[in-house]
Structures are given as structure tokens and as C-alpha cells.
Amino acid sequence: MIEIDRLEVRFGGVRALNSLTATLDAPVTGLIGPNGAGKTTLLNVLSGFVRPTAGSVKVDGQDVAKLPTYRRSAFGIRRTFQTEQVVLNLSVWDNVAGMLDHVPFAPRQRDEVIRSALRYTALADRAHWIGGALAAADRRMVEIARCIVGAPKVVMMDEPGAGLSESESDFLRKAIVGIPDFCGAQVLLVDHDVDLISATCSKTLVLDFGTMIAFGPVEATLKDPKVRAAYLGEAA
């Protein structure tokens, strides 16, 4: 459960997030809005890359502001990036193992955990490949595998669907929907692709200019005239 309370982020004079209050409890929550709406800023607050000017965010009751940035993954806040950040000269296995190195974890189950995460992301047969030898879609999967090992609490994905082919996109959807069952984590999904959001999320939060304009079940929210005006460009 993610509790966001009157969260505000300012960059100079620009308000990237403006008094945002919401409680995200769905297994997969979508986060949509036009460019510059503050979606990635919200993810950056959670992973500690951006300090909020006011307000707080709690994950499972823990105020994340009290955790130093580099502790947040160990605590359970994981993310993938808009431009993937797979280490190109490490093997797929080591890319995932690098995450477990810093997460408090029983070392005996380590190999089994990595193996099952790689099976989940269909990378098991390429575990020894170096990151640089993988195709772009597979690197996305490596990032997801990194996120789902060692008791994650929140998995945040920043536009994971960009540039994927149809079959790759299908596999991604299944992978996203399965994450809560696989490892117990809640998923926070940022994407422009409304199809992807409707297919995977049960609730969605819509941002526009840093302000929440709607939040609720996906179907209903997407039909909301305010959302259609801001996001889909229709006249209200």
C-alpha cells in the first residue's frame, strides 16, 4: 500500500507535483497523463532521486523520506527506467545477482530465487549472456527480473511498453499482471499506451500539470470527461 499525502515537488518555479493525495492499494495501478504531468517525478520521489518540497509518501507504513536513496531498493522499492539501465558487460545472471547482493536475504535460496526470476521473465536459457548481447526487449525483461527478486514491496515501471513488437508486448502484459502473485509486490505502471493500462491495471491515477484529476477503476476513469479532455484531447 502506498499512501501519498499532500505531496509537492517544485523545480524552481515549476510545480511538477501539486499537493497530491492518494492511497494506492490495487495490485497493479496505472499512472497516466500527458507529457510533463509529473508521472516520472512521482516515481523519482519514491526511488529517492528527487526530494519532495512538502508532503510525504508512505510505503507499507514506512515514511520513505527517512530512507536514504541507496537503501530504498533493499527496503523493497524497485523500478525500471525509461531508458533501460542493464549493465552491458555483466551476464544476465550477474545483473540480477547484483540486486540480491544488497538486499537482506537468505543466501541459501539465492540461486533458486534468481533462477525462478529468470524463468518468469523467459531469460533462463540466456542466463550467461552478457547484457550487451541482448535485444532491447530482453533487456527490459532483465530489468523486470532485477525488480522481482528478494521480497520487493513496490515495482515501478516507467514506460516499459515503448518500442516493443506485438508479441513482445503480449508477453510484457502477462509478466506485469503476474508480478503481484509472483512476489507479492504492488505494481505502479507509467505508460502512454491506454491499451496496456486497461489490459493490466485495476485502478488508474490520472495526472495533469502535477495535479490529480481522476483516480479510480480503469474503465470508469478513462471515460471521465475531464480525463478525456486532458489526456485524449477531446473537448470537455
Binding site: 524497485r78 542493464v86 547482493d101 549472456w129 552478457i130 548481447a133 532485477r146
Partner: protein
């Protein structure tokens, strides 16, 4: 209290020249994103040309014009021909590449003119005015006037002209400015030309006011960098004030005998304080967090590397090769070459230490040879004081070098991008100052034993390895152990954390890697290896020479590490051979050793531009190709 007036005045004019150099650095960095570490070398060349023309009886003014034009042209040529090839590299790579230019110019000057102290006279030296009871020569006034005038002109140029506007645009976003129609090459060339001219003028004036010596003038870039750092290589005003402050503080120390020998440490101390201040106040830093990620894409682009290599097989082959070398070499080479090869083996350790930082962490350290000196000195003194078995002093030397590096490198390790490279360059310069000031106490007994008129005491060798042949084998064994330590690191969590840090800060943070801690560990380990290298060098000869640890050696070490190829196991060995065996060969063939400096400088540029994996990468590629041709069936089976 002595009368400080004259010192403040002389400091003000030297400081004005530091400020002028700093302005040159900032203008170029803002327009082209290059921190030009060759600024001092370009100025030195200008000064020596001016001296040469005056010395051969030509009119002085022709010398000044020729020197400044040469500086402008060289800078322009580099900016036009070489810098564009690196325009898309990381800021660190772009800065380090200019060291290649510095080495080429330095080797060239040493080849033709040598490192003698000369005097460059200017007609304004004998005329002067009295201000505040201090006689000031016109040269000093001119220096101050030129510095302030050029800075003011630069500010006006950047603020008021179209070219200035274009430069400011480039400073913000290169690609976007290009799309908007800013002629990048033209603007770049202007910036390089201006900074070259500034370097030329300040070189001539500094040669007159300070000292006319190529190496000294080359490293005059250090105070300029310190001043520029204080303004984040962005602010001209801070750079000017910083330069003046460094000059004055340096000069005020002169009348105090206790401080005087150390006063050239001022820029270093100044820069460290500036770094700590910048860090406390959370300013944005130079360069992005992402380090040298490009190189490994290129390095690993061949599909063949997707195939796992057998670790056990590689280890066995390596051990067998080392064993064979250790067994056979001492039997087949003469005693001179055996010593050369021993030194090459030991220096492979130093290159390994610079190489792990560069290849594993994407950090550039330009002080590794100074750390070799620290380790060597600590080893010598601990051995003379205790006469313990050699291994213990050598290990202590390693620890001493690691601590020394950490204490001074820590403020930079906490920051991103270029700062570590710049700070370590200053550490190398600072170490040179310290050993000159303390006269490198060695040769006597006890911890601080300096011998002046009695015969020097020599350090002994390990009990296991008294003869030259045995000591060679001993050093090969030490190198093998160092490789194993590094290999273990690479394959453990440390190596994975390093790889993630090098990929990007975001990548490392998203895996809960404590970036500073792992950088500190890498830097300490590298310092330890450098220290061990120093200890083994000390035991090879029995003593160390004060003059063999100038800052330029650290730069040379970094250059050959990149040329050798930091990404592969073979690289450090190639680098060790380049450092010791090549000068040995040149000696055999009666060729001037300075040629090697020029070749290494050019080699560094070549490696950074076209061959990031260096010589060893190319050798291993050829081996790989031969192997794939010889074993076509195995390839198919995979």
C-alpha cells in the same frame, strides 16, 4: 612579522596569470565541454619559442608573436582535427585526451630544448614604478592589466557578440544548438583559438615572472584548474578571483621559512576546500553521472563474447604462462634486460591499479605513480627502521599508499564526473612539491633517515629472492597474486557493484549499491596495488630516486594503461613493457628517450579515439579470429 607588501604585489601579478589561464579553461569548457589539461603545455611551447627567437638574436617582439601564434595554431589544430572525433564521448574522456596533446608537446620540448632552467627576459623587467613603497616592474603591471583586460573582453564578447551567444548556446545543449543552426565547428574553433592565444600570452608572461622550464610551465595548469573548479568551470568571475587568491596566498608564504617550501601546495588545498564547499552546498556538478559506458558496448559488440569462457581453463592457462615466463626468461636474457623486465613486471602492478579504476569503475586517477612513490618511500623507511622481512614493509607500503590516496581523494570520490581526474592530477602535483620540499629523506637509518655525506644504506631483498633471477620470479608471483585478487573482486558482489556504478548512478542506486563506499573501496584497492608496486621497486634497486616521481610520470602511467588496454588482463603487462622495455630498446638503439613520451601521447589520443580496448584488445581480437578459423566445427556446435 615581515613586511608582506612586496609579496602581495608579486602574488597579485602571478595570480593574475593563473586567473588568465583559468579564464582560458572556462571559455573553452563552456563552449566545447573540454577541460583542456594541455593549456599549460601550450603556454610552455609559446614561451620556449619566444625564448629561442630572442636567444638566436631575433627581435623580441617577433618571438612573442611567433610564440603566441604557435600556441593559437596548435590549440586550433587540436580543436579542429582531434576534438570533434571525441565530441560524443564522456567529458572525462574529452579532458583526458588533452593529456595526450600535453605529452606530445612536452616530449617535443624535451627533445629539442631539454629541462634546463632558462631566463626569458622582457624589456619591461628593468622599468618600474613605486607603489606603497614597493617597486613594481612594468612586466608585473602588464600581467595584471592583461589578465583583467582579457577577462573583461571575454565577458563582453560572450555577452554582446553573435559568436558569444553561439558559445553560450553550445554550452547548454550541443545537439540542440546544432539543430537550431549554430555552426558547431566554427564556434568550437573560435573557442579553441581564443583559449590557445590566452595560453600563449600567459605562458610567455609566466616564463618571465616564474620560471622558464617546460615541465614547470606545463603544470602551471594546476592552479588554473583549481581556480576554475571553484567556479564549477562555469563562472569567469569566480575563476578570476580564485586565480588571484591562489597567487597571493602562495606568495605570502614566501617569507616564512616553515611554510615556504610547501607554498606551491596552495592550489591543491584551495581546490580541495572548494570541492568540499561545493559538495556541502549541493551544486550541480560537471558532467553527467554516467561514466564510460560506451566503451563496453563497442568492446563487447562481437557476438562471440556472448559465449561463456571457462574460468578454470583461463586460470590454468594464465598460471601456466606465468610459470613458464618465470622459469625461462631469467635463463635466456642478459642481466641488463632481466632488470628491465623485472621493472616492467613491477610496473604492470601500477598499470593494473590505474586500469581497475578506469575499466571497472569508469574513474580516471592521474596520481597512481605518486602513490607508487608513497608506497616505495614507506617501504624503504619501515625496512630501515625495523629490518623486518621485506614482505611486511612492502605490505605496509601498500597500506600507506592506499590511506594517502584516500585522505586526499575522498572529497572528489564523493562527487561525480570530472572532479576525481582533476583532483588526482593535483595530488600528483602536490606529491612532487612535498618530496622536493622534504628532500625525500632516505638512505639513513631509522624512520626519517636522511644521509647527506655518508654512504647511503640500501634496502635488502626478500630472503626468498636475493639474486636477480629469483627476484624476477618473486615479482611475477606478486603480479599473479594481484591478478587473482582483482579477479576475485570482479566475480564477487564488489565487481557487480562496480559494473553497475560504471553503467550509471541510477542503475547502481536502483540496486541499493552504496556508491561512495564502493568507489572508496576501489580507490583504496588501487592505491594498495600502487603502493606494493613502489615497495617492490624499492627492493629491486635498494633505494628510490627523488626525481623519478614527477607528476608527468603519473600521466604517462595513465596513458600507457589506456594504450595497453585496461579492459583485458593483457593490458597491464603491455603497459609495463611500454614503460620500461621500450625506453630500454630505444637506449639500445641510441634513440632519444623523449621520443617515447611523444609516441605515448599520440598513442593515448589514438586509443581514446579509435581503439578503446588498446593494444591488448587488438592482440586478443587477432588471437580470437585465428581460433575461430582453426575451430570452425566447435563454433557450429554452439
Amino acid at each position: 612579522m615581515p613586511n608582506l607588501g612586496p609579496f602581495i604585489v608579486s602574488g597579485l601579478s602571478t595570480g593574475a596569470l593563473y586567473a588568465l589561464s583559468a579564464v582560458g579553461l572556462v571559455v573553452l569548457y563552456r563552449a566545447s565541454g573540454v577541460v583542456n589539461l594541455a593549456q599549460g603545455a601550450v603556454g610552455a611551447l609559446s614561451a620556449i619559442i619566444a625564448w629561442q627567437i630572442a636567444d638566436s638574436g631575433g627581435p623580441q617582439w617577433i618571438g612573442w608573436i611567433a610564440g603566441t601564434s604557435a600556441a593559437t595554431l596548435i590549440s586550433l589544430a587540436y580543436g579542429r582535427l582531434i576534438a570533434p572525433r571525441l565530441a560524443h564521448s564522456d567529458p572525462i574522456v574529452r579532458a583526458v585526451a588533452t593529456l595526450g596533446l600535453a605529452l606530445v608537446i612536452l616530449g617535443f620540448m624535451d627533445l629539442f630544448w631539454g629541462e634546463y632552467g632558462r631566463v626569458l627576459r622582457l624589456p619591461t623587467d628593468s622599468l618600474g614604478v613605486r607603489i606603497l613603497d614597493v617597486r613594481i616592474t612594468y612586466t608585473r603591471l602588464i600581467a595584471l592589466g592583461v589578465a583583467l583586460g582579457v577577462t573583461a573582453a571575454t565577458l563582453v564578447f560572450l555577452a554582446r557578440t553573435r559568436m558569444g551567444l553561439a558559445m553560450r548556446a553550445l554550452a547548454n545543449r550541443r545537439e540542440i544548438s546544432a539543430l537550431l543552426g549554430v555552426p558547431i565547428l566554427k564556434v568550437d574553433s573560435w573557442a579553441w583559438g581564443i583559449s590557445g592565444a590566452i595560453a600563449g600570452v600567459s605562458g610567455i608572461l609566466l616564463a618571465n615572472l616564474a620560471r622558464m622550464q617546460p615541465l614547470f610551465l606545463t603544470f602551471i595548469v594546476i592552479p588554473a584548474i583549481a581556480a576554475a573548479i571553484a567556479g564549477r568551470v562555469q563562472s569567469l568571475a569566480v575563476a578570476v578571483l580564485g586565480g588571484l587568491a591562489i597567487g597571493i596566498i602562495e606568495a605570502i608564504g614566501t617569507p616564512f621559512p616553515a611554510i615556504a617550501p610547501y607554498r606551491t601546495l596552495t592550489p591543491f588545498v584551495f581546490a580541495i576546500l572548494a570541492l568540499i564547499w561545493l559538495q556541502r552546498h549541493g551544486h550541480t556538478l560537471i558532467g553527467s553521472g554516467a561514466a564510460l559506458g560506451d566503451a563496453d558496448v563497442r568492446q563487447n559488440s562481437s557476438a562471440a563474447s556472448a559465449r561463456p569462457r571457462s574460468l578454470a581453463l583461463g586460470l590454468a592457462a594464465g598460471a601456466a604462462a606465468a610459470f613458464l615466463v618465470a622459469l625461462v626468461l631469467p635463463e635466456v636474457v642478459n642481466s641488463y634486460w632481466l632488470r628491465v623486465l623485472t621493472a616492467a613486471t613491477i610496473l604492470a602492478l601500477a598499470s593494473l591499479s590505474a586500469g581497475i579504476l578506469y575499466a571497472q569503475l569508469g574513474m580516471v586517477s592521474l596520481c597512481q605513480y605518486a602513490l607508487v612513490g608513497v608506497g616505495g618511500w614507506a617501504t624503504l623507511r619501515i625496512w630501515h627502521a625495523t629490518h623486518w622481512p621485506v614482505e611486511i614493509p612492502v605490505l605496509c607500503g601498500g597500506v600507506a599508499a592506499a590511506l594517502f590516496g584516500l585522505v586526499f581523494g575522498l572529497p572528489a570520490l564523493r562527487m561525480r564526473g570530472l572532479y576525481l581526474a582533476l583532483t588526482t592530477l593535483m595530488i600528483a602535483g602536490g606529491f612532487q612539491v612535498i618530496i622536493t620540499a622534504t628532500d625525500f629523506p632516505d638512505g639513513g637509518s631509522g624512520f626519517i633517515g636522511k644521509i647527506y655525506d655518508a654512504p647511503r644504506l640500501y634496502m635488502g631483498r626478500p630472503d626468498l629472492a636475493k639474486s636477480d633471477a629469483a627476484y624476477f620470479r618473486y615479482c611475477v608471483a606478486a603480479l599473479v597474486i594481484a591478478y587473482l585478487v582483482i579477479l576475485w573482486h570482479q566475480r564477487s558482489r564488489v565487481g557487480r557493484a562496480w559494473a553497475m556504478i560504471r553503467r550509471s548512478e541510477a542503475c547502481a542506486l536502483s540496486a541499493s549499491v552504496n556508491i561512495v563506499a564502493y568507489k572508496v573501496w576501489g580507490f583504496a584497492l588501487a592505491g594498495f596495488l600502487a603502493g606494493i608496486c613502489g615497495g617492490l621497486l624499492a627492493a629491486l634497486v635498494g633505494e628510490l630516486d627523488l626525481s623519478s616521481f614527477p607528476a608527468s610520470e603519473s600521466i604517462l602511467l595513465f596513458a600507457v594503461t589506456v594504450i595497453g588496454g585496461a579492459y583485458s588482463w593483457l593490458g597491464p603487462i603491455v603497459a609495463g613493457l611500454l614503460l620500461r622495455a621500450v625506453p630500454g630498446l630505444l637506449n639500445d638503439w641510441h634513440i632519444d628517450g623523449n621520443i617515447a613520451t611523444i609516441v605515448f601521447g599520440a598513442g593515448l589520443l589514438h586509443a581514446l579515439i579509435t581503439a578503446p580496448t588498446g593494444v591488448s584488445g587488438q592482440i586478443l581480437d587477432i588471437v580470437e579470429r585465428i581460433r575461430t578459423r582453426a575451430l570452425p566445427r566447435r563454433e557450429k556446435a554452439l
